[in-house]
Amino acid sequence: MLQLKNISKNFGGLQVLQDVNFNVPQGGIFGLIGPNGAGKTTVFNLITGLLRASGGAIEFDGQDIGKVAAHKITERGIARTFQNIRVFKEMTLLENVVVGMHDHMDYGFGSVLLNLGGYRRIEAQARERALELLSWLRLDHKAQMLADSLSYGEQRKLEFARALATKPKLLLLDEPVAGMNPAEKTELMEEILNIKQRGFSIFMIEHDMRFVMGLCDRIAVLNFGRIIAEGSPDEIKNNQEVIEAYLGKEDSE
């Protein structure tokens, strides 16, 4: 579904990614793990068009998206959440989610000005759909509250709902459980499985090993800008190079 081919990225003289190759399959949950500073978020920023690769190609559904503008990539079906939560705090939950439907609201300036039927119908449908998405994440009872008043875990869930509003084929989750307590983690794990069951493909970056091993069907490991392993959770757990990257090398003495 999503293919990274020989992707490299450097910021000035700093080589962040080198010859990164992997393939996110349709359906299921794909994980990208790696120590701090390995370049994981950079991978997401390249896929979503916030940054441009220095070399290589990114293909989504067989089409090159390496030079497509960020908002157009969203339109093609890739949505994401952020490591440091970025909800619109001064808006209500409902409005947050409706913003995600931006591309799918086709009405002209004229029908806005004259309050025509087409505009009213699309707005009503968007609100209805937004409530439904909020109910998927069990936030619908807070739809009219300001996003700022939510707890950290709830804001993360709101980000999920907002990302789903863009009708993505592929959902990118950037460290979804960063900074959450164990109870919130378990809850979020369920939510992610629910989303998967509804037919969305998921690609996540995560630090929490138990979380990744429990959720992902396939995992790639990034270390110092290179992919050092790819495989099923069991294969990754027993991969010598991965263990070294995380725990360091055993002294040969």
Partner: protein, 306 residues
């Protein structure tokens, strides 16, 4: 008998009114024009852009409309429409490069643009150079202003309730998140900039047609800051704020006439106090609701002790 009384009272009132109108009509006209100017900068602020080009856009609109009225026989609505369209076109052209900037950098670039406009107007022949334009026909009627202010408010209110208004707010709150929700950030910023310019231009056209004379000094740095002050003073969270802000800051200098030469000082003091104690402007619905609650609580407490 009663008829006589009412007719005396009537003529008395009419006399008073005529005197009042001839003294204060420019102030009354300015209420609406300044409200429009405050709304013009509200549009860009609502999209998270601190643009200080609105005085320049007002000037471009004023000169365009005045020149059409003075040099052609075209009707007033055409002059006003041109007064809105020309600044919008200029905004479209300069917006593409400058709107890549954000925060104070955008403020500086737009201030620079305002200065360029002022110097160009100062040196052109058709604009009358430093003397400006004199003898602009007095075509603005009170209802023109009421109508155009109402139209501006209506259009902006409709936009707020649509995906356009939501896109503006999303950009203001978090540009990156807005982009990744599929919002064409550059496009919407340009839209806000162009709409703001058009409103400022129409306001300029209206203003020129009741002041009789305009000059390059009317659209300089101080005016840019004044427009911003009106919007911030009123509050930029809704359409009511800038409208009120524009009107109050028009009336304030008149109300402070008794302070004579200290007028500017008192005016400044009031501004400082408002910014200090009402950082979101005088129209801040949440704060007003808070006051109303405290007031009604006090009232019920007082009632209970009786």
């Amino acid at each position: 008998m009663t008829e006589l009384l009412t007719s005396i009272a009537g003529t008395g009132f009419m006399d008073w009114w005529d005197g009042f109108w001839s003294t204060y009509n420019t102030v009354i006209f300015s209420l609406g024009v300044n409200a429009m100017l405050a709304l013009s900068i509200y549009v860009t602020l609502s999209c998270g852009l601190l643009s200080l080009a609105n005085a320049a856009f007002m000037g471009i609109g004023a000169y365009a409309a005045s020149l059409i009225s003075m040099q052609t026989g075209l009707p007033f609505p055409v002059a006003l429409a041109a007064g809105g369209a020309l600044p919008a076109l200029v905004a479209l052209i300069i917006g593409i490069p400058t709107l890549r900037l954000s925060g104070v950098y955008l403020a500086m670039a737009t201030l620079g643009f305002g200065e360029v406009v002022r110097v160009v107007v100062l040196n052109m022949d058709i604009t009358g150079g430093p003397l400006g334009l004199n003898g602009i026909p007095l075509k603005t009627e009170w209802w023109h202003i009421v109508l155009l202010l109402a139209l501006t408010l209506y259009i902006l209110a409709r936009m707020r309730r649509s995906k356009i208004g939501r896109a503006f707010e999303a950009i203001k709150e978090d540009e990156v998140a807005a982009r990744l929700m599929g919002v064409n950030v550059a496009g919407y910023k340009l839209l806000a900039f162009v709409i703001g310019a058009a409103i400022a231009g129409v306001a300029g056209g209206l203003n020129a047609h009741y002041t009789f004379t305009i000059g390059p000094g009317n659209y300089a740095f101080e005016n840019a800051v004044e427009i911003l002050t009106m919007a911030v003073f009123g509050g930029t969270g809704s359409l009511v704020g800038p409208t009120l802000g524009g009107m109050i800051l028009t009336l304030l200098p008149e109300a402070l006439r008794d302070f004579n030469s200290y007028r500017a000082v008192v005016n400044g003091l009031i501004l400082v106090l408002v910014i200090l104690y009402l950082p979101k402007g005088i129209w801040d619905p949440r704060r007003i609701r808070g006051w109303a609650n405290t007031f009604s609580r006090r009232k019920t407490q007082a009632g209970g002790s009786n």
